[in-house]
Each structure stands twice: as C-alpha cells, then as structure tokens.
C-alpha cells in the first residue's frame, strides 16, 4: 500500500466504520472528529488519537464532593482505537496500524472487522491508555501551587504553596523535607528546581535556595512533620494562591493564610504534581505510630491526618508529596507527605498529611496567598 492508499484507507475507517465527523482542518486537509467528544481544536491526524484517548473520558471521571460531575457517555469500542499509518514491517510500502487502548479489545468484533477488511495491510497493537502530559510537570512561569519541584538529588515532589519568613517577609516555597531537603541529606543553600529532576529539570531550572527544614528522625523517635522551605530566587514570577484543575485552569484561590484544623469527614482537595487536582475525605485525625518508609529508612509519625479518595482514582501518588491539603472552600489545613498504594475507599490507597499550622509555626513562616 502506498501513502495515498493508506490515507484513503484511514479515512474509510474513521468516517465509514467509526462514524467520525469529517471537518476541514486548518490546512484544508480532511480532519476527523469523534462526535461524542465535541468539537476538536486539535490539528493533524493525531487529533483523532488525542480526542479518543484522553480528551473524552479521562477528564470526565467524576469525583464526588467536587464540581458537578461530567456525564460519561456510554463506551463504544471506536472511542478506544486510534488509527495510524506506518512503514510496512515487511516490504517498502506503508500499512495501517490500529492501536487499541483498552485491555482485552484484541478479540473485539470491531478489531476483527478491521482485520477482515485490511488483512495483512493492518497491524493491530495494544497501546494502553494515553494520557496528556500534565501541566504540573512542566517548567512554568509564574510558579504556582501543584508544580513539580525538588532538590537536585531527589526525583520529584510538589510545590505545595508559598510562605514568607515571619521576620523578614522573604518569600519562599513550602514543601516537604523529603522533597526539598532530601530527607536530611541536603545542606541549607542547596538548590530547588522547578521542574524536578524526574521531569527533566536541571541546574538551569533553579527557582529557590533551601533555607530551612525540620530533620526527620529515622531512629524510631516520633516525628510530627515533614517540612522544608526554600527561599525563592531566580526570575520567575509567582501566582501565590491559585489552585488549578487538571487542565491548568484556575479553580479557586487559597482562601486564607491561617491554617484550619482538619476534622474527620471533612471534604478536602489538593493539587499535586502526579495526580493533579483530586478530592478526598478525612477519615481519621490524630493518627499515631504511623510508620512511613523513606528511601533512607523509616520514620514514625504522630498526629497525622488520614485521607481517602472520594473519586474514581487515587487521592495521591508518588510525586504529590508537598501538596497543601485544602478544605472544600479552599482553606488550608495540611501538608501531604505520605501514602499507601492500596487500601481504603476503592482500594485506591490512603494519603497522610501533617498539620500545616504546626509546619508554619515550627519553620517561622506565614502562608502567602
């Protein structure tokens, strides 16, 4: 199959077999949009992949306690199949490639029809779920809560928010010790990067200088807090109190600088580097004797708040450490620092936060919004 034939075959699949709408693309080329995903403003053939794989259901997962949930349309197999063109594996021409994104679709009738129609001229592969790179992992200016941040020697954590030195008013970044101070291994004066190393950060992305942290005791003595503060430097701007959704759109502002006490059954939210903006509920306060595994050992924590998701996905995951926990009405109350992979609601894990008021007190800081 030559390229023209492959393009025509692709059009046949998208228009005739999948029932996608044909619209004029920005360069005049035909452009196919899944009508269930609304009007696409993507460009090029990959817009079909994007609209099918990410723009539809991934944004539509409802999270109770948050904004009005988006209605999820009934699943159709063509929503989860992307059609591309690639060089033939054997031969010098081109062939079609069907990438299905839901496990088990290989035996689906739609895949079988594609095989029957195009036989050796189509390659069918499982591609898994495609997810757009989150805005939280990018280099951003201005800086805002939720972004990837970290000491150069750690992988990635979250810029929870901003705080000022009580005495000088100097502005800095608030996160965990294990994010900005590498679990006690860092030296004040070390750099803080945004984005963090795991997200492609480098020395050119220095945004702060580690100024203070509370050491974490890994000998068995109890800890209460996992916190650190880096003084801002560099020339990036700041958007101090804006909480953004998973598309980077502002959802609201941190409502006050004085932290509140989180209570059992409070609805809470956070924005973090890995899982973005999520909703949860406080299931326990004053949790004692919680053992938390760090890369360098185990710390025992007291007076911790436990949170479970109220949505269909986990409240947090690795890389979300440092996120500020906010109530439903955006009042700050906790600093996320740990979690489990499973257990709790929907077996999505349990998230643990330390007391933000204690963090600010111990580090001599005022929250900046």
């Amino acid at each position: 199959m030559d390229m023209d034939s492959a393009r025509n075959a692709q059009i046949e699949i998208l228009r005739d077999m999948f029932g996608f709408d044909e619209v004029a693309g920005p360069t005049g080329d035909p452009h196919f949009v899944n009508p269930r995903n609304g009007t696409s403003n993507e460009t090029g053939a990959f817009s079909v992949v994007a609209s099918a794989a990410s723009a539809g259901r991934l944004q539509a997962e409802p999270e109770f306690g948050g904004p009005a949930p988006v209605k999820i349309p009934e699943w159709r197999p063509e929503d989860d199949v992307a059609i591309g063109i690639q060089p033939q594996r054997k031969g010098r021409g081109m062939e079609l490639v069907a990438l299905y994104q839901r496990p088990g679709m290989d035996e689906h009738e739609l895949i079988q029809r594609l095989r029957d129609r195009f036989k050796a001229e189509i390659s069918v592969r499982y591609a898994g779920r495609t997810r757009a790179l989150s805005w939280t992992r990018e280099r951003r200016d201005p800086l805002c809560p939720g972004l990837s941040v970290g000491h150069p020697d750690i992988t990635a954590g979250t810029l929870g928010g901003f705080a000022r030195d009580k005495g000088t008013g100097t502005l800095g970044i608030l996160s965990n010790n294990h994010v900005l101070a590498n679990v006690n291994e860092a030296t004040p004066g070390d750099a803080s990067w945004q984005r963090a190393r795991s997200d492609g950060g480098s020395s050119g992305e220095r945004v702060g200088t580690l100024d203070r942290f509370l050491p974490i005791d890994l000998t068995g003595a109890p800890n209460e807090l996992d916190c650190a503060w880096s003084e801002l430097d560099g020339n990036r701007g700041t958007d101090l109190g804006t909480i953004r959704d998973n598309n980077g759109v502002p959802l609201g502002q941190i409502a006050q600088t004085d932290p509140v006490t989180l209570n059992a059954l409070d609805t809470v939210q956070k924005v973090g580097r890995t899982t973005g903006h999520t909703w949860g509920v406080v299931t326990a306060v004053n949790v004692m004797n919680l053992q938390v595994a760090f890369e360098k050992g185990v710390g025992v924590f007291q007076n911790v708040t436990a949170i479970q998701t109220t949505g269909s996905s986990a409240f947090s995951d690795g890389g979300d450490s440092g996120s500020i926990i906010l109530t439903e009405d955006f009042r700050p109350g906790g600093l996320l620092f740990a979690g489990s992979k499973s257990g709790g609601a929907g077996n999505k894990g349990i998230t643990y936060a330390c007391n933000l008021e204690r963090v600010l007190d111990i580090l001599d800081l005022d929250l900046a919004i």
């Binding site: 970290g150 750690i154 992988t155 990635a156 965990n176 294990h178 994010v179 101070a181 004040p188 004066g189 200088t209 100024d211 203070r212 942290f213 509370l214 050491p215 005791d217 000998t219 068995g220 003595a221 109890p222 800890n223 807090l225 996992d226 209570n263 059992a264 059954l265 299931t283 326990a284 306060v285 004053n286 949790v287 004692m288 004797n289 919680l290 053992q291 938390v292 595994a293 760090f294 185990v298 025992v300 911790v304 708040t305 995951d317 690795g318 890389g319 979300d320 450490s321 620092f337 740990a338 979690g339 992979k341 499973s342 257990g343 349990i350 643990y352 204690r358 007190d361 580090l363 001599d364």
Partner: protein
Amino acid sequence: MTSGNDMTKARVCQQAFIREYGHVAGILGIGLGLTDDRTEATIEVFVDQEQEEPDLPATFEGLQVRKTPTTGAKALAIDETVDLPEVDREDLPTSKSKVVRR
C-alpha cells in the same frame, strides 16, 4: 456533631487503646474518626492487609473500633520501596530548636 469536649475524651480513649493494642502485629496506625452520622467519635485502626488481620475489640471504652486494611505508608516523592524494620516508639516532642537553618 461531636463537641470538642467529646474529641478530647476520645483522644484520652485513643491513648488508652494505643497502650493496650499499639503493639499488636499488623497495626499500621491508630487515629480518630467519626461515625457516618457524625454523632460519635470512632477509633480508626489502619491494619496491614498483607498480614493476618489483628484481633481487636469491636468497641473500646464505648467507642466503635473500625479497621481499614491498607499497605504500609511511603513518603510520596518518587522513590524506591524499602522494608519496614521494627522501631521503638518513644514519645519525644518536635522542637523548633531542631530546625536546620542556613
């Protein structure tokens, strides 16, 4: 809704529970919660779902004891899994004097 006084009593009860059951294998953490109707405090026990479920009373000093199976907690930067060793649990306060400063 429980009052602050009730929660103070619940904390005392929680401490007694920790003294009696805190050493039991398979317990990952012990906190305080509320019943779904928000009228009574509860003792929330996080138990290791990879171990045999610990034998705990259904109530303790009048508070409902609820178990939540889960796995061990990890710091949530992206890091490697480490085994959880046994640790002593002495009560030492967090102190401002411990803060490392530039």
